[in-house]
Point group: C2
DNA sequence: ATCTTTTATTGATCTACATCAAATTTAAAC
DNA sequence: GTTTAAATTTGATGTAGATCAATAAAAGAT
């Protein structure tokens, strides 16, 4: 099985300038925009919000998963002090179960939230690891809580945000679990990440895969060998093309057909 | 392979009097108890709450899944007017995807909520079908919303409720997805439902399985033949015993060991 | 009660994926 | 640049679970 494009070298088209997501396309928006209860408006950045905090790969406190180091934004079971929105880059979310076995439970792209599902609970449900040099917006929970008691509008927005978020999470995981075969699963996954990535990149057919094969395989519950074979097969079948880290969906229709089995 | 207890007949120990869950053990509690903002308390039942609405098997509007009829409490995609807590009995939740393929996406036991994950969104995410003669408590969303604007206490409770709920949902689905083998999956499932059922029954080792094999298999993403074989194997290995619909976990430790693989 | 229909169990076979192993490519270190 | 290590791809083989098919047991109907 010979894949079409293999000879291309020097295709690590490193984007020097990371693209930050627009606030308009961010899930945090509901609680990040200036809130004016009638005439008295609250300056959010003076209260609970810090924009564009860099999370670079250097200082990694611990290795959350066997391989691939990366900056850990927060760790599972630690007290929840803040929730985050991804500004640029990709994060992976890892969860350790009772028996100490770790799994990749999700990925987050620009404009998506992290930690919000444990808001007002004691601790983070999972660890968040930056895949590369990323940035986030940070919302301090205590300050947010204090503010929301002043502004009922904010509280209403918060409920909406949590509901929508929980809904989308459910949709995303629904799209993954219970697929008939690994083909379908992978097709669904590729469509899912490209669609989510498009919210800020604007391109639904291309994505720069900062996620390693190992992490993808772990998330999808298959072996990396299987994933590798499937990617080769998809390339052979002209469903996708892979140039280094650049993934292009060549036939979204066929992929959708495959995914819905 | 001969299962230990097969000869027992007439073991359909029908519980004439369905056990209703205590309000203390119900997830709806946060918004169902009388709320007193200082001295002016709101009478909930006069506003948005109706307790113990019967949902009997008779009048089924449509067959949500290929087999097993049952009263449909609400249907996917219909406007969300109310959220529910199970009082007695078991419900199954079905979801149809874009391609029209239906799946069982969950079950609800007494004290658990339904529809709450779409609160303040347009429509229900799934259909809810009663497995037998059940009952629910109903909370009307419009009235709840109106009330919550009067009582900030209620709104705070609502946020807590939604967060906890979303967390538990995630935990439940995490316990299921990505298991190595069907054995582990089934072990995890049996432990999960017994544990959830124990919240109102008080017995963590026994449960009356109102759910059909087909529905369980569909939920777990396996064929009913496979499920049947596994149940037989579990009985042979003295992990469980099955008397009609009565399931008993004989060795919770072994099951847990199996589930965490 | 008997008859019919549905639901559940067991058997035989076949395939998708895991597993073990080796080669190859890519990235990091020097 | 070269060397080393890590990540990815490809190959060979075995097994878990799907699929097809046939009973067997409940549940309803009469």
């Amino acid at each position: 099985m010979t894949s079409s494009n293999k000879s291309t070298k020097k295709n690590t088209a490193q984007q020097k300038h990371p693209r930050y997501v627009d606030c308009d396309n961010c899930s945090m928006q509901a609680i990040c925009q200036p809130i004016g209860s009638d005439n008295q408006s609250i300056d959010l950045t003076k209260n609970y919000l810090t924009r564009r905090v860099e999370v670079s790969t250097e200082q990694s406190s611990s290795q959350p998963l066997n391989q691939s180091t990366g900056a850990t934004l927060f760790e599972q079971a630690r007290p929840l002090t803040a929730i985050f929105a991804v500004c640029s880059g990709t994060f992976k979310l890892c969860q350790r179960n009772d028996e100490g076995i770790e799994r990749v439970v999700g990925f987050r792209f620009p404009g998506e939230l992290m930690g919000e599902d444990a808001l007002f609970l004691e601790a983070y449900n999972y660890s968040a690891v930056a895949l590369g040099d990323n940035s986030v917006c940070e919302v301090l929970v205590d300050s947010l809580s204090a503010c929301s008691q002043l502004a009922p509008e904010l509280q209403q927005n918060l409920i909406q945000l949590l509901t929508k978020q929980s809904y989308e999470q459910q949709q995303n995981s629904q799209a993954i679990i219970g697929k008939k075969s690994a083909d379908c699963l992978l097709a669904a996954f590729l469509l899912n990440i490209c669609q989510r990535n498009a919210k800020h990149s604007g391109n639904e057919t291309e994505i720069e895969l900062t996620i390693s094969r190992q992490d993808i395989a772990c998330f999808l519950g298959m072996r990396r060998e299987t994933l590798s074979r499937l990617l080769s097969k998809f390339q052979y079948e002209q469903l996708i093309s892979l140039n280094g880290r650049q993934l292009t969906l060549l036939s979204i229709n066929h992929l959708k057909q495959l995914a819905n089995q």
